[in-house]
């Protein structure tokens, strides 16, 4: 006991080196985000001459004004922006619409299905579940091509419905994830509810859902982050400005090189800050739960 305490306190070159490594990893992770912030508060014209300064180059909020559509075209041009209209308020709103609707509906229907797979007895249950699971094996692009044709034929290109529909009703992962948790709930509580005369629907909402609040929340966060960050599908079906989500808007913004000069870096960094911030905030508030569930999936 004492020897351990002593050896802990003694300076240990190996341990010190290990701590330095930890510091390096944290620095490598955080510095790019710092640089993103720093650039977003900079003036474009001053970036080349202050390219090594740790502080914003001629600090200003112009970049944010520009990407939020608050400055006039001539003003934007003058500050190294492009003539194309950018309105990240709108893209932010669109991303919220897509991510929130996907999260709510997909989690609800996946949970209902997971409950039926975990708790109800019905013929063909395991076969149907296995077929659901097999979808996890298919690379998304293989089904994306026909899904694009379907959405186009339904006339849903450039609509919110077209963007959310393929992921709205279920995700194989969500069904699988929740089923694992529902399987572990003790049957006694459920039976007690049934004896009290509660139907299946009531048992689900009054017993199963409250008891699984933690995994359902975790799943909802993961679904939200995935929907928020998705680029491929909205790029295909939602380029129109009215439904353009942040990821697609960033790609288009990047492609609009201003007349003369390089890309509008401070504007681009301001836009990435806007796109990243909601997820980072969500993660800061609920990160502990996400970390624990990822670790859980690692051991299982």
């Amino acid at each position: 006991m004492t020897t351990i305490a002593v050896s802990r306190r003694r300076f240990h070159p190996g341990r010190a080196f290990a701590w330095v490594l930890v510091g390096v990893f944290v620095l490598i992770t955080l510095f790019p985000f710092y640089w993103m912030l720093r650039t977003s508060f900079s003036t474009n014209g001053a970036l080349p001459s202050h390219s090594n300064s740790l502080l914003p180059a001629e600090g200003t909020l112009d970049a944010y004004r520009r990407v939020l559509g608050l400055s006039s075209v001539s003003e934007a041009l003058e500050k190294g922006g492009s003539t194309a209209s950018v309105d990240f308020w709108r893209y932010l709103r669109n991303s919220f619409i897509v991510a929130i609707s996907t999260t709510v509906v997909q989690t609800l229907f996946s949970a209902l299905a997971a409950y039926a797979f975990a708790r109800l007895r019905w013929p063909g249950r395991n076969v149907v579940f296995t077929i659901f699971l097999s979808a996890l094996m298919v690379p998304p692009i293989f089904t994306t091509l026909p899904n694009f044709i379907l959405i186009r034929d339904l006339g849903l290109l450039n609509t919110f419905l077209g963007i959310v529909l393929p992921n709205l009703l279920m995700s194989p992962f969500a069904v699988f994830f929740l089923r694992q948790f529902f399987l572990n709930i003790s049957t006694e509580i459920e039976e007690a509810a049934r004896l009290d005369g509660a139907g299946h629907l009531r048992t689900f909402f009054r017993v199963i859902v409250p008891m699984s609040a933690a995994p359902i929340t975790t799943l909802a966060i993961l679904t939200y982050v995935a929907a928020w960050n998705d680029y491929f599908w909205p790029l295909l079906v939602g380029q129109d400005e009215n439904v353009r989500v942040l990821t697609v808007a960033l790609g288009i913004f990047k492609a609009q090189t201003p007349n003369g000069g390089g890309p509008d870096w401070s504007g681009l960094m301001a836009a990435t800050v806007i796109a990243a911030l909601p997820v980072v905030i969500l993660f800061t508030l609920l990160g502990k739960r996400v970390i624990n569930s990822i670790q859980f999936s690692g051991v299982k």
Binding site: R15, A18, W19, L21, V22, F25, V26, T29, L30, F33, W35, S51, N52, F109, L112, A113, A116, F117, L120, R121, W122, V128, A135, M137, V138, P139, P140, I141, F142, L145, P146, F148, I149, L150, R152, L165, P166, L169, M170, P172, L201, V225, Y231, F232, T247, L250, G262, W265, A275, V280, F283, T284, G287, K288, I291, I294, Q295, S297, G298, V299
Partner: protein
């Protein structure tokens, strides 16, 4: 006679209850099942059909037999794409696993703090598009901070995205940065699951920290490591966002990975038939990789069990 009728009378409510339960189950599964059939099952079948046609988004598409598959065999761009993807996967997975393993060991041996784990996970939570744009700025040839740093230590500036020899490595590196914290967290969980007494026994036997890692941690971590490898490997084959934002497959075809090639064929050249055939080949490759991996994993079932 009376006995069986009593039994039947007793069983009848149970039968009815079973039927009720089945109806409820059908109602509960229905929305998800519709989503599954319409957006997973039906497109999968349609995708196979498309791969045998010359469908191009505007015509109805004629059945062309195995022509698309015959075309793949002679398609130099396809083979190059496969090669570039393989290069990306090897660099990405190799580097990521090595770095993540180091991070996981550090997390377990000294930095158990949740905050540190949280910080290291942030890049994984942020969109691939954001990460791609951020690194394109950091690596900018003229005024990017990384090139400035190279300049400072006396190394030549590098055109990270413009140099064909560097482009795919750059993309691989960016995605290592994005996912290393996530992979480390999975491996950390695996390390935590190894019982303490194994280490104690090793320490009593006089094993050094390094030896304990190679002889105890690593072998016992193998099942988790295998699982993590297979999941990240499959994800790695589907690299798209970074390339779509930065290089768009270039310079020349240096970063035209298979996913981007399929996208390009379908949505820039409207060659859905041919694109579907390549997507199916990709599916077959991933299935093969998974099966090989699963076999290896099963052969190495946890030494703890």
């Amino acid at each position: 006679m009376t006995l069986t009728s009593t039994a039947r009378r007793l069983r009848r409510p149970m039968f009815r209850e079973r039927r009720r339960e089945t109806w409820y189950a059908i109602a509960f599964v229905a929305p998800a099942a519709i989503g599954f059939v319409v957006f997973y099952l039906f497109p999968a079948i349609r995708g196979v059909w498309l791969s045998f046609t010359d469908y191009d988004l505007f015509s109805s598409g004629e059945f062309v037999g195995g022509a698309n598959y015959a075309q793949i065999v002679d398609d130099k761009v396809f083979w190059n794409a496969l090669l570039v993807t393989a290069e990306y996967v090897v660099v990405n997975i190799g580097l990521q696993t090595a770095v993540a393993l180091l991070m996981a060991v550090l997390m377990q041996r000294l930095a158990k703090s949740l905050v540190i784990r949280g910080i290291l996970l942030v890049p994984y939570m942020v969109s691939g598009v954001v990460v791609a744009l951020l690194w394109q700025w950091l690596l900018d040839y003229q005024i990017g901070i990384v090139n400035n740093a190279l300049d400072f230590v006396g190394l030549p500036r590098q055109s990270f995205f413009g140099d064909p020899a560097l482009a795919i490595l750059t993309v691989a590196f960016i995605n290592v940065w994005k996912s290393m914290g996530y992979t480390a967290l999975l491996l950390f969980a695996g390390l935590q699951a190894i019982p303490k007494d194994v280490y104690e026994a090793a320490a009593i036997d006089g094993a050094s920290e390094a030896k304990a890692f190679w002889r105890v941690s690593l072998p016992l971590l193998r099942p988790v490591l295998a699982l993590v490898l297979i999941v990240s490997l499959i994800g790695s084959f589907q690299i798209f966002d970074t390339i779509a934002v930065t290089t768009k497959g270039g310079p020349v075809n240096a970063t035209r990975v298979i996913y981007y090639y399929i996208y390009d064929l379908a949505f820039n050249r409207y060659d859905f038939g041919y694109a579907s055939a390549i997507a199916l080949v990709l599916f077959a490759i991933l299935l093969g990789v998974t099966l090989i991996q699963l076999r290896l994993t099963r052969a190495n079932k946890s030494d703890l069990a």
